[in-house]
């Protein structure tokens, strides 16, 4: 082989490898998008026809009767999220502030490790723990138990995002406030947290979107309910639970309702994510 031809071969080989590499990465990228596309396609195809006014305004009908809706599950989910927020937001945000502003290196390392482990714990575990701590003790499934399970899942998520965005606030702002004779806690609340507020809210919304779709931790805490819940110490309906119950049922009508419920749930979570995008759009230009 002459020098010239070997170089030409080499060049061709490199071209092939290059084309192969870009093709593989392109296919992988497509595969990333594909599930979301498929999910939306299926949900629209199977559920869109059942998403109607009645779905948002009516209670479920008894078995065998056509029609009805999931208004109790939608409202139930919102109630559960509100209760979960009441637990998860204050603990998560304040814990994140502690990590970023007060904690010693050793305490922080431990806290971060625990939070990261909790973030990796399967969500059903939170349900089991709350079942043991609350449901057994108070002898009944309840909205409180469901909200607590979701709230506990939110804590480590919010904690870590809050810590990260607070650490992004340049030290110059803390110094500027302290140099005005402002007390430390006021500096943290009115200067640091205010500067990081977009990021903190983003973390909260992402945590809400995550637990909004959780089913497993609600199975033995909130339990589900086919009627209105008028008492938070009683079982309560939730959209993911209702979808689960309807999807494993043998009735076609319920299957359609389950598809509709899934479509509404995914759309809701999608909207939260869009909101997060809008909130974080200016991130590179503003400080946080």
């Amino acid at each position: 082989m002459t020098m010239h031809s070997s170089r030409a071969d080499n060049h061709t080989w490199r071209k092939i490898m290059n084309a192969l590499a870009s093709a593989t990465t392109f296919v992988s990228a497509l595969l990333v998008i594909a599930p979301l596309g498929l999910i939306f396609f299926h949900l629209l195809a199977n559920g869109a026809s059942s998403v109607n006014w009645a779905f948002f305004t009516h209670l479920p009908k008894p078995v065998g009767e056509a029609g009805g809706g999931m208004v109790n599950a939608i409202v139930g989910s919102l109630e559960l999220l509100a209760f979960a927020s009441a637990i998860g937001i204050p603990i998560g945000v304040l814990g994140g502030v502690y990590l970023a502003e007060y904690g010693t290196a050793r305490a922080n390392a431990l806290l971060r490790f625990v939070a990261d482990v909790l973030n990796g714990v399967p969500s059903i575990t939170f349900g089991v723990v709350v079942y043991g701590l609350v449901v057994l003790r108070f002898k009944g499934f309840s909205a409180y138990a469901g909200g607590l399970a979701l709230g506990l899942i939110m804590v480590p998520l919010i904690l870590r995002t809050t810590e990260e965005v607070i650490l992004l606030v340049p030290n110059g702002y803390r110094e500027a406030a302290l140099a005005l004779g402002v007390a430390r806690w006021k500096t943290i609340v009115y200067i640091v947290m205010k500067t990081a507020s977009k990021g903190i809210i983003t973390g909260i919304l992402l945590a809400l979107a995550r637990v909004g779709g959780e089913t497993a931790p609600l199975l033995f805490t909130a339990f589900g309910n086919r009627f209105w819940n008028h008492n938070l110490s009683e079982p309560i309906a939730a959209l993911p639970l209702q979808i689960f119950t309807y999807a494993i049922s043998p009735y076609d009508d319920w299957h359609r309702q389950a598809w509709a419920g899934a479509l509404v749930l995914v759309t809701g979570i999608f909207c939260v994510n869009v909101l997060v995008r809008i909130l974080t759009r200016g991130r590179t230009t503003s400080a946080v």
Binding site: P170, G172, Y173, R174, E175, A176, A177, L178, A179, L180, G181, V182, A183, R184, K186, T187, Y190, I191, K194, T195, S197, S286, A287
Partner: protein, 282 residues
């Protein structure tokens, strides 16, 4: 540290600095004194950043602290309002008296010290979430002042003193970060003045500014000394010559020489001072 305006080693410039006529010919500051710093040493962990510094800071005068990077200028400045304590594991020995009161006495709240001794930083840092107006009065607000009329008066007064009022009076609601670099620094000065401190510490306030903005700040410093005691750190020797009445030269944490700026720049008694000022090192 970024220093846009580097000191040029040209002694001729220094010699022809115009001195205010009223400057006393004595080399040591005469009473009234704002600060009396007595045998102060500061440690960061094991490292000694300031080594047995003793000097007096005269009231209603500008005292400049010069010296090469890492000599402890900023640390010294920050020990005057206890800002260096924000770094963990710092330790101070010796005494710093502000109007005769020991700043490091156990009964003194550092927040009160900082209200009396304001500070302007190297990098302008207006709060990005606040408007120009809010930036100026935030110190008062967070210290519990609610009276809106009082706040408005103080807002205008502080901006006027910082020579910024005419430029921003119609844009008080705009974001503080929308201003130019020099305006932002004057906004930070207005913010520091609004809480009515007795002293203004300035940590290289012009090092990130262009010459025109620098000239404005220097002019402002000259005007402010009628009402405030000013201590400034600078990398720029001509600037120290232009704006200060007294100059302290720090090197490796030690005070090498301290005296009237005229004396330090024209007839330093220490060889190291002369070498630094003439640009032989640093």
């Amino acid at each position: 540290m970024v220093n846009l305006i580097m000191a040029s080693p040209d002694p001729a410039v220094v010699e022809h600095v115009e001195r205010p006529a009223e400057l006393s010919p004595t080399t040591e500051p005469a009473p009234p004194l704002t600060f009396q710093v007595k045998n102060v040493s500061i440690w960061y962990g094991e490292k000694r950043a300031i080594d047995d510094v003793t000097l007096d800071i005269a009231s209603n005068a500008v005292t400049a602290i010069i010296g090469p990077s890492g000599c402890g200028k900023s640390t010294f400045l920050r020990c005057l309002n206890r800002m260096h304590e924000l770094v963990p594991k710092t330790r101070v020995e010796g005494r710093v008296l502000l109007q005769g009161e020991d700043l490091y006495s156990s009964t003194v709240d550092p927040a009160i010290v900082r209200r009396r001794v304001g500070m302007v930083f190297q990098k302008s840092n207006p709060f990005p979430t606040m408007s120009i107006g809010e930036n100026v009065i935030i110190g008062l607000r967070l210290n519990g002042v609610r009276n809106q009329k009082f706040l408005n008066e103080r807002l205008e007064k502080s901006l006027r003193m910082a020579a910024l009022w005419d430029e921003v009076k119609d844009d008080l609601h705009k974001s503080g970060t929308s201003l130019s670099g020099g305006q932002q620094q004057r906004l930070c000065i207005a913010r520091a003045l609004a809480v009515e401190p007795e002293v203004l510490l300035m940590d290289e306030p012009c090092s990130a500014l262009d010459p025109i903005a620098t000239a404005k700040i220097e002019e402002l410093i000259y005007e402010l000394k009628a009402q405030y005691t000013i201590v400034t750190v600078t990398h720029n020797m001509q600037q120290a010559g232009r704006i200060s009445d007294f100059t302290a030269f720090l090197y490796m944490g030690r005070l090498i020489e301290f005296g009237s700026t005229t004396k330090i720049f024209t007839n330093p008694s220490q060889k190291q001072t002369e070498d630094y000022i003439t640009g032989r090192f640093g």
